[in-house]
Each structure stands twice: as structure tokens, then as C-alpha cells.
């Protein structure tokens, strides 16, 4: 029962607070039903987020595959800016991830234009977790990396809406391989350049052994000044 009168033209205050305000998930049902079918493009993927004192480095491979057994695209940009100083990786269902990014980007813009300041990264992570949990099943497992007044943050967001912050994190089918590199080389006073190098090395290791990852690397650097994304179709160029 509605607590507030339901007059035409008056804002419905009983709307679900977990739902996005602008984007509708209705047209996503087909994708959700498609489940693990081989026809749905998956990113397979290795995506890495590392925090440093000066910002966040995100590196992703460039392969899209069908069932992890056929390479359907060799030049996918799997990291996108969604906020003045934050980026999100695409991991899992391509359609789910793209829709997720569009939604977060518009919510972030709406928040900033209304309130005159950008959303904090923890608010953005909470919102992302709410959408992942509340929408149809997106089949995604992205990393959110960003910088705000509190400093540098990376979060991994799981398909059920779990949100976990860490100093560095990896998601995607190549995560175990990449983690090996990071466990050996990560330390908490990496410079941005060292973090970039490490992230590229870890993606490279994963592309060598994980069939769902490969074909080059995209590197995003996030600082208080913004997000910078560069693609390299061979690892020599990135190193």
C-alpha cells in the first residue's frame, strides 16, 4: 500500500530504491535467459586493478570468446570510464557488462549534475553492487577502480552483488595465473609506472596460459585528474 497519494504527475515515492533511476533493465531479460549458451559473447578475460598512492592502474586483455573456445573478437576494449575519476572493467557477458556500464555512467552523471560534486568511489561501488544484485542476472564480475578525496580504491563486484575492496584485485578466467604474478611482485609503495608494468606483466602471464584471455592489453590509469586509457595489440608495446 502506498504511503503517499498516487496523483498523476507526482513522483512515485514507493519506487524501489535499488533500481537505477534512468535505465530500464526490462530489455535485458533475453540476455539473462541466454545463460551460458555458446552463442553469447563472453569476455573470458583477465582484468587487474592495482592501487598506488597516486592513483589506480587497470589492465585488461583484448579477447572476446564464445564458450571460451572460439575467439570472436581480438580487439575488445574491456575497460571504460564511468565517472570523472573511475573506470570499470567488462568481465563475463559482453551485453550484460555494456549495459551495466551505460547505467552506472548515467547514474554517476545524474548524481554529479544534481549535487554539484562527483559521487565518491565507495558510493559508486555500493550502487554497482545494488544493480548487480537487484537487476536481472547480468553474469558479470567487473573491477571498479577510482580515485576520490579518500584516496585510491579498487573493488571487485561479483555477479550476486558482492562488493569487496582491496589493494589490488583480479577477475576473469585468467585470474589465478595473474594472481601468481601479483602475489610475488605487488608491494604497497609501487609508483604508477611500476604498477602499470606489473599489471601488464600479469595480464601477459594470463594470456600465455588462459584460453579465454589474449590478443593484447588495454591499460587505464586513473588519478584525481581523470582517466586515461591506451590499447596495445602486442605486449612489447606496453612494456
Amino acid at each position: 500500500m502506498s504511503k503517499f497519494p498516487d496523483l498523476p504527475g507526482i513522483k512515485n515515492l514507493d519506487a524501489n530504491p535499488y533500481e537505477p533511476e534512468l535505465a530500464s533493465f526490462d530489455d535485458m531479460d533475453a540476455d539473462a535467459d541466454a545463460g551460458d549458451g555458446d552463442a553469447v559473447a563472453k569476455t573470458g578475460t583477465t582484468t587487474i586493478g592495482i592501487t598506488t598512492d597516486d592513483g589506480v592502474v587497470i589492465a585488461t586483455d583484448m579477447r572476446a570468446s564464445l564458450g571460451g573456445r572460439f575467439v570472436s573478437n581480438k580487439s575488445v576494449q574491456k575497460v571504460e570510464q564511468i565517472h570523472p575519476s573511475a573506470a570499470l572493467t567488462l568481465v563475463g557477458s559482453v551485453g550484460g557488462a555494456q549495459s551495466f556500464i551505460r547505467t552506472l555512467r548515467s547514474e554517476s552523471d545524474l548524481y554529479e549534475v544534481r549535487r554539484g560534486e562527483p559521487m565518491s568511489i565507495s558510493a559508486l561501488a555500493t550502487l554497482a553492487g545494488n544493480f548487480a544484485r537487484g537487476g536481472p542476472f547480468f553474469a558479470i564480475n567487473p573491477i571498479l577502480g577510482g580515485v576520490d578525496e579518500e584516496g585510491s580504491h579498487v573493488y571487485s563486484i561479483d555477479p550476486a552483488g558482492g562488493v569487496m575492496e582491496d589493494d589490488y584485485t583480479v577477475t576473469g578466467s585468467g585470474m589465478q595465473v595473474a594472481h601468481g604474478k601479483l602475489e610475488d611482485r605487488y608491494h604497497d609503495d609501487l609508483s604508477m609506472e611500476e604498477a602499470e608494468e606489473l599489471a601488464v606483466e600479469a595480464v601477459y602471464a594470463a594470456t600465455e596460459r588462459d584460453t579465454g584471455s589474449g590478443n593484447g592489453v588495454y591499460v587505464a590509469t586513473v588519478t584525481g585528474d581523470g582517466v586515461d586509457i591506451t590499447g596495445y595489440d602486442d605486449f612489447e608495446g606496453a612494456r
Binding site: P5, L7, K11, Y18, M119
Partner: protein, 247 residues
Amino acid sequence: MQGQNQQQAYDRGITIFSPDGRLYQVEYAREAVKRGTASVGVRTADGVVLAADRHARSPLLERDSIEKIHKADDHVGIASAGHVADARQLIDLARRQAQVNHLRYDEEIGVESLTKEVTDYIQQYTQTGGARPFGVALLVGGIEDGEPRLFETDPSGTPYEWQAVAIGGDRDEIQTFLEEEYEEEMGLEAGLSLALRALGSVSDDGLDATGVDVATIDVESEQFTALSEDEIAERVTELELEGDDDE
């Protein structure tokens, strides 16, 4: 309709402008606010003070049942003037929107954002057929990013930000008093005194501690704190605002 009746017709519907561009129903709602007892807000360097006149018309009425100052969220208080029942609806809206912000972003809502949620809602009642505007004005005070903020809402749905402000009965007189006495650098205790003195300035037979409601939201704790009757009485006595009993 002809002659005089034609003038009157413009106040029949909320969605109808008069030929000189006025919304009579909104102006009537402002009159309803003036019929309410006054509320005062003072923003100081280290917090916001809300004070309200809640004197009872009968000694038999339970004082606590007169609602003038409300907690909206831990860090925001709202004082009202005008129709109490209308105020209750808006305060519930503010409380819900504060919680929606917690749910969506896991953050406290800003005082400005919260005020605008409320005023946007009020505005819809000046443009929707079959509705009547809210006959109430609110003072929304709290802490945002460590800074004290104080806003007013009016029946048109316009938000205003103030250093010190009065709403309700005797608004103009109290506002003049505040304009003369307000100092930007004053602390919370000085702001509290100013708010009480401002309310007392329009009371012929002095201020009665049981007839005043006071709350603060300070920068230190960022918590809404209602003052007890004793705490108010202490200050009323100190400021010599009580009336002369033998008058």
C-alpha cells in the same frame, strides 16, 4: 462570471495563473504558514540551532504532543511552521529519502540534496490538478561534509539557504531581530542564545521554557540533539527571557 467574481475564479484551481502571473493557492498556503507558531534557525561556525515556539493553548494539552522539531536523520533536523499534519507528511518524505540515500550509496544524504528532494515534492503540488499545496514551511538544518547548512522550504517549493531565518507567525519581526543580532563568527552556544532571544523578542509575556523546543546539530558529533526542558529552562533564566509572573 463577471466583475468581482472573475478575480476570484483564479484561486479556484491550483494550476491556474491569475492574469498578473500569480498562483493564489500558493499565496494562501503562505498565509497558512503565518498562522502557525514561529520556528527559528541559526547557523553558527560549529553547528546549526533550531528553536520553535510550541506554547499550548490549554494547560491540559500534553506539551510533547505538539510537534515542531523533528529528527530526519542522524545529522539533520527539521523545524516546521504551519499545518502540522502537512509537515508530518514532508518530514516522513525527508526521512525516507535520507534512508534511500543510505541504501543506494551507503552515504549520508547532504542537507542541500535532502532539502531539494522535499522542495521538488512540494512543487509538484503547485502544478498537479486536484491537489492542494502544502500549508507549511520547513527549516532543514544539519551537517554536510563537516559544514553546517541551514535551508528553508516554502509552499511554492523553492529552497532557500540562510545564515539565520524565521518562519511562521511574526516572521518579519523575528527576521529583523536576527538581522540585527546575527554574527557570522558566533559559536553554537551564542547561536542558541540568539535563537531563544529571537523567539522571546515577539513574546509579550516572556518565554516559558516548557513552551519552547530546541535542537542542535553540531559539527563535532554531527548528531541531532534535542535539548531537555531543564537545559532550555537554564538558558531562558540566564538570558532573563521569562515573563513577570505578577504582571
